[in-house]
């Protein structure tokens, strides 16, 4: 269905643009002087609306991200210290920007978790490619990938922002959960 919006027929003085320009300048001036006033007097600045202050002094104040926020993906360990990832490569498959590269490997026999048989020899997430979609977390059958709430990752080189297994595990840390699927293997 098409909705037809009637365009208002402008009067001659409205067609001149000047009233509109003047109106615009009034609005911008009001905000300008108010902010300047607040700034000089050292008050918190920013427009106050019914929901509170809408401007935030970013580096000092930070946005409290909601629980559902999708930040950097990381690998976690279970309470026994086992790397939960079994290198099934589903995240590598599902990753839309192909940021994940996994090199699987059989777990060497002498290690305590050798019954799981498989783990990632290398696990890389290219944070320059990552789009924070969270599909890797969603798809992981082992609940080994979790997204942090961190959203500002900076680095001085491209290599630095390709997170390898050690870095991902360090960021992810240990996760308290109750799934011991592989414990009795």
């Amino acid at each position: 269905m098409t909705i037809k919006i009637e365009r208002p027929v402008l009067k001659w003085h409205e067609n001149l643009y000047f009233p509109a320009i003047w109106g615009g300048i009034k609005v911008t001036s009001r905000h300008f002087w108010k902010t300047v006033g607040n700034w000089i007097s050292g008050k918190k600045y920013g427009m106050i609306t019914s929901t509170g202050r809408v401007t935030m002094e970013y580096p000092e104040e930070k946005w409290a991200v909601p629980n559902e926020y999708r930040g950097a993906p990381t690998l976690v360990k279970d309470p026994d210290g086992r790397i939960k990832c079994v290198a099934c490569q589903l995240c590598e498959f599902v990753c839309p920007p192909r940021a994940i590269t996994i090199t699987p490997e059989p777990i060497p026999g002498q290690l305590p978790n050798a019954t799981v048989e498989k783990w990632p020899k290398e696990f890389e997430i290219d944070m320059l490619r990552c789009i924070y979609c969270g599909l890797c977390e969603e798809v992981c059958p082992e609940e080994a990938i979790f997204l942090l709430k961190d959203y500002s990752f900076v680095g001085e080189s491209r290599e630095e922002l390709v997170h390898n297994k050690e870095r991902l595990l360090e960021l992810g840390g240990m996760r308290q959960d109750k799934i011991y699927k592989w414990k009795n293997k």
């Binding site: 099934c88 490569q89 589903l90 498959f93 799981v116 059958p141 082992e142 293997k185």
Partner: protein
Amino acid sequence: MIADAKSTSTPMVNLTINDRPLSVPQGTNLIEAAAKLGIHVPHYCYHPKLTVVGNCRMCLIEMGTPQIEPDKKSVLKPDGPPEITWMPRPQIACATLVSEGMAVRTHSKMVEECRKGVMEFLLINHPLDCPICDQAGECRLQEYSVDYGTGGSRFVERKVKRPKKVELGPRVTLDDERCILCSRCVRFCQEVAKDDVLGFTDRGGHTTLGCYPGKKLENNYSLNTVDICPVGALTSSDFRFQMRVWFLKEARSVCTSCATGCNITVGSREGVVYRYTPRQNDAVNSTWMCDAGRLNYAWINDPRRLTRPLKNGQSAEWSDALPDARHLLREAGMKGQLAIVASGRASTEELFLVRQMAALFPAAAVDIVGRTGGHDQILVSADKNPNTSGAKLLGLATGKLAEIKKGIESGRIKTLFVQGENLEKAGFEAGLLAKLDALVVLDILPSPTTQMATWVLPGAAHVEKNGTFINGRGRLQRFLPSFSVKGHAHEDWYILKELLPEAEHTQYHSFHSVFEAMVRETPALAGVAWEGVGDQGTPLDLKL
């Protein structure tokens, strides 16, 4: 396929499957009959190339026969078709043969209920380690679980533990917890490989697959059991944990390990070959291939692969390599000092271009390097070159290799062109090759021969290019590329046509133009078209 072969002699039987009429030869089972209508009847233990045992119970269907009155006439429904007497209980489709007037329901409510029940039983002790299982992605258990499985399990007891990671043989690893006891592998070893080593021990939920005491699954066809295993119980030790199958790009190709020319599927990802699997071709290899051929792919991934032209071992540019090599060959050819060693591993098209080069200089001696080895009565041929027949057809297998050797020794031959062969293995020692003025080698891996070469021209592996082989029985078979040529290397046809003089090579602008020229100029190939060769190859009438 089987049915078609028999159709001339075997009487046809009429039946209906899901109310759709169908006519198939007598002796066809219901799985095959339904497949003709495009209906898939789920099954695990049934395999068209093995005997029917009917132990998985997955292919249950509902079946009925026409009601017969005492006077042997069918009872008809008011609207025409015969009245059917349905069997009260489901039947297994694999072991039920068609009969006249039979009616079948493959997806009725009862059938679906039965399949759900079977699936629930199969999954009771299944370990659910799909994330680490190599079969995931091509696993019948996964597929049918999606169709007929229930989300949860009603089984509250402990799952039965069975041996995991058992090495049945040098190339096959067994995870017994995943085994659904379909016995395909047992039957394969008995019937096809003729090496009866596998069997079941213990009872009930504890039944375990194993080898007979003192034996191992180590015959040359053992990896076929991995292919036919419908679940992840048998896995290839070579492919184990290397790559998930859904990443693999599959290309239709031909095995290069012997003259049989087994049809294969090459699984590769991002320019790395991970496995070969047999591709069905009943005229060549049925659905099998030997372990030796299957595992003969690592050389493609070799990090030492030649990716740039080399001049006396130093990296060089194609723009220098091709004109210079062309010049060397031409000069020697004109003086009658040129010899060519072609390869039975090269495609027919490449050999055709080599023959064209040889034809320019009639004095030049040319031959291929022969390879022979053991053979068996199943698939392995004694001739280890995949394309000896192609070389013979083009007149390149002349048996003059010894003459070439002598020619070099006597100094009559001063320039040698070698196509993808390590001459040291053919008895050409380094000292002999050192006598040459110029040695031009087209190869993909460094060898003692390439080390001696004036020019090394890097070519492509068979998984990187189009081509055809003619197998030992004279069957022309295509192979298609999986990925493009590595680095700065070129496809061989391009290099070979560039080595021909200008006037000759301008006619070849693509691989297909080479193929067409070869067909045009070879009487035995008359009427063959690239598309017509198809995935199954085409038999040639060769008088070799």
